[in-house]
């Protein structure tokens, strides 16, 4: 079902309704969406919406207020797709999905085994339980990764703090990726296709780096040189 106005498109997809925004002013777009909903409230009742925000750069206030307004109409906003990394980060912080099951475009897939030489993602705070970080390159966390937090990186992950959550390095298949932490005590560790749990539960972590050696996940104390 395709419904179009000059500024927004609404389309039925497998995961619910896909609402695509153009480049107009954010307030105009959200008003247009609410008008659509008010015209046929019963149709939208209990709907699950994926918002394609295009190139809009959105902060916490905009997404939270949109989510709340939709919620008052009985609609759940569960995912936000975006070309802007700021918007994607905001959505992730609010617990919204930033991908739906079908990849946006086949051309976007990262080639396997390439360690990204772009800038690493630098996260300057502790990741609390329920936080999920996804990034195609290397990730550095300047803080702790708490139990219940997840870091999924195409490249390597370094935690300048306590690693007690879940890390998946080399998530696109890169077996050269490594995981290191000042206090290495992950809930679960994955590099490329391998998964492992810590040998001693709740032990205090030491300064260690984990890597894949001959298909096995090995963690060893960090030695320079």
């Amino acid at each position: 079902m395709l419904k179009e106005t000059t500024t927004i498109q609404i389309k039925g997809i497998r995961e619910g309704l896909l609402v695509s925004f153009g480049d107009e002013d954010w307030d105009i777009l959200t008003s247009a969406l609410i008008n659509q909903i008010n015209e046929r409230p019963n149709f939208y009742q209990s709907a699950r919406i994926v918002l394609d925000a295009g190139s809009h750069t959105l902060g916490v206030n905009e997404l939270v207020s949109l989510r709340d307004v939709l919620s008052e109409h009985g609609i759940t906003l569960w995912a936000v797709l975006s070309n802007s990394s700021t918007t994607e980060q905001t959505a992730q912080n609010l617990g919204l999905a930033t991908r739906i099951s079908k990849p946006k475009s086949i051309n976007d897939e990262e080639p396997v085994d390439r360690i990204s030489d772009e800038k690493a993602l630098w996260i300057q705070h502790t990741l609390r339980s329920g936080t999920r970080i996804e990034f195609p390159g290397n990730v550095i966390v300047f803080g702790d990764v708490n139990p219940g937090a997840e870091v999924m990186a195409g490249g390597s992950v370094l935690v300048w703090g306590r690693l007690r959550g879940l890390v998946h390095a080399g998530a696109n298949g890169n077996e050269e990726a490594v995981v290191g932490a000042l206090e290495f005590s992950p809930m679960q560790l994955r590099i490329a296709g391998k998964i492992a749990v810590s040998p001693k539960k709740n032990a205090k972590g030491k300064l260690e780096i984990a890597k894949l050696v001959d298909g096995n996940l090995i963690a060893e104390p960090w030695k320079s040189g």
Binding site: V60, S71, L94, G95, G130, G148
Partner: protein, 262 residues
């Protein structure tokens, strides 16, 4: 007087939010403050029971929001203290009956009329939680010294930070000094190590909670109750007083001072 809106939430159910809202309210009202409690747990209301006011409910929060009564008509005045009121939740509806903006409007209307608005949040991180934090000036996160509760508290604190409702303050409830000493229970330090937010209260496990709840008489009325005392202390700290924390190991008091309201 412009009220401060304080919400008590936890993520995990059963950690003691309702008990603490009732007791902190009694603590504040005993110090001459005008307090309105709001039960945010629509469909599973409990604050009325714990306060002993359930048989006096005529109108509730949903009646106010849907315009069937004026705000004042839904406020039940506690007969034991001059300035303690409750707006109960509805039992025959669910959390979709109220929205975050409804709560903001309601609290705006109440702000000029009292010193404190205490909101009892339901468990979870969905609509009821969102309703309860929408109007909050300050959020108190409650946890037990127990791994599942701490995980959930961490999640909630993260959500509060992400939505710019922080920084939250922490209440550690139901701590058992003997178990901590044996190493069978997380210590205050263990919990703070993970949650890393400011502590506003430590409340010991006290079986009188159940008796008090059954009678509808919050423990803060009883000077001999240690849990009641702890809740009174939280009320004092909200008022800006420096009160030493309960020393869990030695059953005395130690000098970790909480530095008051900002």
């Amino acid at each position: 007087m412009t009220a401060s809106v304080v919400t008590v939430t936890s993520g995990k159910g059963g950690v003691g939010k309702t008990t603490s809202v009732a007791n902190i309210a009694v603590g504040l009202a005993s110090q001459g403050q005008r307090v309105v409690c709001i039960d945010g747990d629509i469909g599973l209301r409990n604050l009325d029971v714990v306060l002993g006011l359930e048989n006096r409910i005529v109108y509730d929060l949903v009646d106010v929001v849907e315009g069937r009564c004026r705000l004042r008509q839904a406020m039940i005045r506690d007969k034991r203290l001059p300035e303690l009121y409750l707006i109960p939740a509805a039992q025959t509806r669910d959390k979709s009956a109220v929205s975050p903006s409804d709560m903001v409007h309601l609290c705006d209307e109440l702000r000029q009329e009292c010193d404190w608005i205490l909101i009892d949040s339901p468990a979870g991180i969905e609509r009821g939680f969102r309703n309860s934090i929408a109007a909050a000036d300050k959020v108190l996160v409650m946890t037990n010294p127990e791994v599942s509760a701490v995980r959930d508290a961490d999640r909630v604190i993260g959500i509060l930070d992400a939505e710019e409702k922080g920084p939250a303050s922490l209440i550690i409830n139901r701590i058992k000094p003997a178990m901590v000493k044996r190493g069978d229970m997380l210590s205050v330090e263990d919990v703070l190590d993970l949650l890393a937010i400011q502590l506003i209260g430590i409340v010991p496990e006290d079986e009188n909670v159940i008796v008090a709840s059954n009678r509808g008489t919050p423990m803060a009325f009883d000077d001999k109750s240690r849990a009641g005392q702890a809740f009174q202390n939280i009320a004092k700290r909200l008022l800006g007083e420096e009160v030493p924390f309960l020393d869990v190991e030695n059953q005395g008091f130690f000098q970790r001072i909480f530095s008051g309201r900002k």
